[in-house]
């Protein structure tokens, strides 16, 4: 009964979304306030309907109702409750439903917070949201219905893929989708502005918090996914330049560019056309990502439950929305008026540079990701484009960008003084050079590139601190005054500094682990020792263990440094009972910012095959992204960006723009 109710709610949601797609647009053309006011009501209604459908599916997972095909395929009565719930989106149908739920959630937020938006903009933006909602609801209802019944109902389910039975699944997809789908708001506002033919700083002030929110969620989501793959796959890698990873990384890169260009538009009314284009590109890349991940057209190490036939439907959605938006852009972009002027050396100029490098980098990732598809279609040869390609193209593009980051926030709007900024960055440059020398000195035989890479990380960190120091009046005021001024700084200043600081931390982690990690594969018998980095690991042998829905062989290692044992690592080979599927559970020991990572292999006559990595500073990679996300949240809390109060902040933002 509940299941049918959920299915029915989904159909109702489609009906409401279709109404919401058409009526508000007619209303905005006829200046009919009544029809336009229908949009927010419809948005909230379809949110509750989709929520109902999602709740119904969750309920059938919680109660292990195996008469529902989707539950039978992906659940098991013995599965722990958290995985029963997260299993709702651990499959194609459920994950698309989550996608739609988040989409209508964002529409409802616009409806709720959009009280002081221009009526036509709000109506049109919500209508565009409804177009996307309708398309994906149709997709789910026609090709991927999660409410399909099975008769007779099986007694036991087939269980969820064991690799997905992890807290990672509870957190990673919702965060990732919050990011992906959050960019739909930027897209809808861009298209609405094009329909309207009008765009101004108020538009950017509206779009920026959404971009920021989506970007924050996507940053956290990608980082979470990376750490999950790192500990779950047992391969010791944290990023594989795999198509599925690239699919989430491209919207992130474009979204980062959008975040910065919207800033220029908000403060200076410049870069209007570019910002609108970037908003369209960012969400198009999100759609492309959804298509790549869900269709499985590209071979990926992260491929779960993909279905090529259903991919065609998403491809259709992709073509219609991207093609339509770009056509509209081509027709209407000229009608958008140009905004403020600025000199090449200025805050705006720096942000343009940021956009230039980020979009070019996005393009190289796009080429690397899609090239195998294109080549196979044209010549039939099958190729794979792996990490070497991306390291060679993406890497060099990032270096100048990272070097330029500390300059940006220190430059004045309109016309900046590069020499003065250089003088302010002397200290940061000096510290970074010292760091580079220290790396060369302390690590014997460190590659020069590694020293330079870590110096770039230090440069970013020092640069972000320099920015805060000068905003507080370093060099002109005493410490107590600086402290007072620091407390009075807008939160967005801290957000910027935190995000750039985090970027530096991540860069250090990435460079360190790339240059200094060691890996060894060996066979060990109980009592034998392996040496990894400064540590010795003594293998204590294997012993069996039983979990709720799996059995495992645990291998224990006593870890010692200079002969003194201080920890043990437990790694395991698991077999999940329902699917008879083996998985590797890596044993990870965090020592300061570094990690020892142990994975077990097969049994051989010479002992157990063991793979041991020493990964110095590896956790910096994810700590950096935590700083970035926190920076995003802090910026989001800034009064100027508070979603409900764009009107009140208008005057302040204008004066602030002139003052800085």
């Amino acid at each position: 009964m509940i299941v049918e109710l959920g299915h029915y709610a989904l159909v109702m949601a489609l009906a409401v979304a279709l109404l919401q797609s058409v009526l508000p647009v007619i209303g905005s053309v006829r200046q009919d306030a009544g029809l336009m006011a229908m949009a927010p009501a419809a948005a909230v209604t379809s949110f509750f309907l989709v929520l109902l459908a999602f709740a119904a599916l969750t309920a059938s997972y919680v109660t292990s109702d195996f008469s529902v095909q989707n539950v039978w395929e992906n659940s098991h009565s013995l599965k722990p409750m958290i995985y029963k719930i997260s299993g709702v989106w651990g499959n194609h149908e459920g994950s698309m439903l989550l996608w739609i739920l988040i989409l209508v959630f964002f529409s409802a937020l616009v409806a709720f917070f959009g009280g002081n938006l221009p009526a036509a903009l709000k109506a049109n933006a919500l209508a565009v949201q409804a177009w996307i909602t309708s398309a994906f609801l149709l997709f789910v209802l026609l090709t991927s219905n999660p409410f399909q019944r099975l008769t007779p109902a099986p007694i036991e389910g087939r269980d969820l893929n064991p690799i997905l039975q992890d807290v990672g699944l509870a957190i990673h997809p919702p965060l990732l989708y919050l990011g992906y789908v959050g960019f739909s708001i930027c897209f809808s506002f861009a298209v609405a502005a094009l329909i309207d033919g009008r765009i101004d700083a108020a538009w950017a002030r509206w779009v920026r918090p959404w971009t920021l929110a989506a970007w924050t969620a996507l940053t956290a989501g990608i980082a979470m996914g990376s750490y999950w793959a790192y500990y779950e796959l047992g391969w010791g890698g944290w990023w594989f330049w795999d198509p599925v990873e690239n699919a989430s990384f491209m919207p992130w890169l474009a979204g980062t560019a959008l975040l910065h260009s919207a800033l220029v538009m908000e403060k200076r009314e410049a870069l209007k056309i570019w910002t609108v284009l970037l908003a369209i590109i960012t969400f198009s890349l999100s759609l492309l990502g959804t298509f790549l991940v869900r269709s499985g057209v590209l071979t990926s190490v992260h491929a779960f439950a993909t279905d090529p036939t259903r991919g065609v439907f998403i491809l259709g959605i992709l073509v219609i929305f991207i093609g339509g938006a770009f056509t509209l852009f081509a027709l209407r972009a000229q009608s958008l008026k140009h905004g403020g002027l600025f000199a090449p050396v200025s805050r705006e100029g720096a942000l343009v540079l940021n956009n230039l490098f980020l979009t070019t980098a996005t393009l190289t990732v796009l080429v690397g990701t899609l090239y195998p598809l294109v080549l196979e279609a044209l010549t039939g040869s099958k190729i794979s484009v792996g990490p070497p390609f991306f390291n060679l193209t993406f890497g060099p593009l990032m270096v100048p960008l990272l070097l330029a980051v500390p300059f940006g926030p220190l430059l004045a709007w309109k016309r900046g003084d590069l020499l003065a900024v250089c003088q302010r960055l002397y200290a940061a440059a000096g510290i970074s050079l010292l760091v580079a020398l220290a790396v060369v000195y302390f690590s014997t035989g460190a590659p020069v590139m590694a020293a330079l890479g870590i110096a770039i990380g230090a440069w970013l960190i020092c640069g972000s601190l320099t920015d805060l120091a000068y905003r507080a009046g370093a060099g002109r005021a005493g410490l107590p005054v600086m402290w007072q001024r620091l407390k009075g700084l807008p939160r967005s200043a801290f957000g910027t500094a935190l995000a750039h600081f985090g970027l530096g931390v991540s860069v250090i982690g990435i460079v360190a682990v790339t240059a200094f990690s060691t890996e060894q594969v060996m066979t060990l018998k109980p009592g034998e020792q392996a040496v990894s980095g400064p540590f010795a690991l003594e293998f204590e042998g294997l012993r069996p263990n039983t979990g709720p829905n799996y059995t495992e062989l645990q291998g224990r290692f006593a870890v010692s440094r200079d002969g003194a044992q201080f920890a043990t690592i437990t790694a395991a080979k698991r077999v999940y009972t329902a699917r008879r599927m083996p998985t590797t559970e890596a044993g990870i020991l965090t020592i300061g910012p570094s990690q020892l990572y142990v994975a077990l292999g097969d049994e051989t006559p010479d002992g157990t095959v063991v793979r041991i990595w020493w990964k110095p500073w590896v956790t910096f990679i994810w700590f950096g992204t935590v700083f970035m996300s926190v920076g995003g949240i802090v910026s989001l809390l800034d009064r100027r960006l508070r979603v409900g109060a764009p009107a009140a902040s208008k005057a302040r933002a204008a004066t602030a723009g002139q003052a800085t």
Binding site: L363, V367, Y371, L392, G601, D602, P605
Partner: protein, 147 residues
Amino acid sequence: MTRKQKRLAVIAGGVGVIGVAVLLVLFALQEQIVYFHSPTDIAEKQVSPGTRIRLGGLVAENSVTRGQGTEVAFAVTDTANTVNITYNGILPDLFREGQGVVVEGAFQPGNTRFVADTVLAKHDETYMPKEVADSLKEQGVWQGDGE
């Protein structure tokens, strides 16, 4: 600077960066991509030793033998032809005889033995790497469920 000059400066900068990126991409696409071959492709056209390739097919039945320590030898087949592989390391969890697999590596000079440094099997039991599925279909031995 006039508006026109500024715009020119921006465009010149943009073209410069994109030009560099295009050069990098073209260079990398020539040097860094890895072609996928089936055992039959290898029998038909010689792949020169040392060239990195990906090789996909099924792990041949009764072909997996353990060597010294972490060394493993097995054969990859598309039923028409077979290539012998050696690999030093931990095999993926779902590596089994009769399962689809993709290995990456190169032929040793003056030797028909393929030395793999990466072995990929999938997370999902029912999943077959797309390239392997395609090449099995070409050989007419595909036993998957339709499509």
